[in-house]
Each structure stands twice: as C-alpha cells, then as structure tokens.
Amino acid sequence: MNVAVVTFPGSNCDDDCHYVCRSVFGATTIQVWHKEKSLPSGVDVVILPGGFSYGDYLRTGALARFSPIMEDVVRFAGRGGTVLGICNGFQILCEAGLLPGALIRNQSLRFICESVPVRVETTESQLTSALEKGRVLHIPIAHMDGNYFAKEDTVRGLEDSDQVLLRYCTSEGEVSDASNPNGSCANIAGIMNSGRNVFGMMPHPERASETPLSSIDGRELLAGLLGGSL
C-alpha cells in the first residue's frame, strides 16, 4: 500500500496523516509538496490533509485547488485512483469540482473543536465496507467552515445514489437538528463522488486512530482504505 499525503502551504494535519498511515497501518507513505507537478508513481491512495491552506484566503480550499500538484490529483482521481480529503482536504476537493457542494461558515460562526458522533450511512464504500450501516463513530471535528452546502437536487442526488458516507448524529445514532454541530445540509459530515473513489469528510479519522487519543473509531474508517489488521 503506497500513500501520498499532499502538503499545501498552511496544511497542519499532514504529519498526523503521514504518521498514522505509516505507524498504525504500516503503509509506505510519502509526503508530497504541493509544488510537485506529479504524484510519485505507484501511489494507491492520495490524502489531502486538514489545515488552513493559503490561510483560507478568498474561500477555504479555493487557492489550494490551483496548486500544481492538483492537476495530477484530478487525473489520478479520473483514472479511478482513491483520494481522501479530510477537513481542509474536503474543502479543496469541493473547490476542485471532484466532489459536489461547498463548505461554508459554521452556522454558529464559531470554530468548533470537539469529538462528535457520526453515523455510517452506507457500507458501499472502501472506507465503510467492513462497518455496519447505522454504526455510530466518535471522531473529532475542528473547523470554522464545515457547514456542508449543496443545492437541494444535489443533496437528493447524493442520497439517491448512496453517496453520503457519514452524518452528524446523537450518541444513539439519531440524526436531528440538535445533533448538527455546524448547520450542514441534511447533517452531512462526509460524502463520496459517483465513481465511489473520491471521499471527503470534515471529521478527522487520523485524530482517532490510537488508544491514547480517547477514540479509535477513525482507525476503522482508514482501515478500509489502507488495509492492514486492526
């Protein structure tokens, strides 16, 4: 398993992703600077990590989307390659048009940093194929702009074609306004593209991958992608 973790100027979860891929999953992991024009050959999974690429100037992810490496990330995704965007990575994937919708300012206008329950909405994805539908995972979020927005018909399209990965919920798995931390449409916390090879999520699975970090639920998502025994 070969993983490339892209570092943009302002990424701050790149080392965490690199560490978890390498140390928890034993994957060969390469950090790729955003100015590179191509991904290393033989890469199986590309991770766009969290952070504040380009200082969130203009809109979150708007400038990172034009980093030189992104052309090859788009090509890689187009060939069916697996891409995971976490937090700022999700924002970048939306700006790049690899995922539908956009992430806007949290409804509360506050930066939210807490562990939240999210419900597994589908098992038809590499990330969740080993989990049960409806399973509640506890994974941290840490964002100012995590309010998922898409037009009504786009959201309906995502739901109809089973592209919603995770929704914010209560600890009991109930999806409600009260369990929506940031105002996201339909409580959406993570989605995938129609090809089911590009994934975006606001929760940080890499921050919930080892026992000292209070939850290892994130590891179960990453295990689907990176393989290896739990």
């Binding site: 203009l58 809109r59 708007a62 400038l63 034009f66 939306c94 700006e95 539908p100 919708g101 956009a102 806007i104 300012r105 949290n106 409804q107 509360s108 206008l109 309010n147 927005f149 898409a150 037009k151 105002g183």
Partner: protein, 80 residues
Amino acid sequence: MKAKIIVMPRAEVLDPQGEAVRQGLASLGYDGVRHVRVGRYVELELDSTEDMTASATVQRMCEQLLANEVIEDFEFSVES
C-alpha cells in the same frame, strides 16, 4: 482598466455572517434592520485597454476563482 467585482452569497444559502451583523446592529439599537447579507468586494487593475476583452477576462476570473457559483453570485463593472 479597473474592474470592480462584488461577490455575494446566493439567496438560497444561509448567511450566518449577515445574521450575526444584523444581531450586532440590533444590539446597538438599530432595530429596523430586517436582513443583512455580507459579501466580498474585489478590485483589479488590468493591463487591457479594451472593454470587451477586459469584461470577458474578468468573467472567466470570477467563474474560475473569485466566486464559487455553488454558493455565490457575482457581478462586476469594468472602467478605464
């Protein structure tokens, strides 16, 4: 030439910043403010000297980068 661009959240997109500003104004005693929307204003200076070329260029700039049409609308004017 100078381009003046206004980018606003689309009508159907909730604008929490606008709502926070409305509440701030209300707490200052401005009760009559029914609705606030907060957008972005961008000024560009262009080498181009032709209105048509400049307009077409600014249109593309807006579509590609300055606005995200999923969540924002834009309008602009070009003047020498």
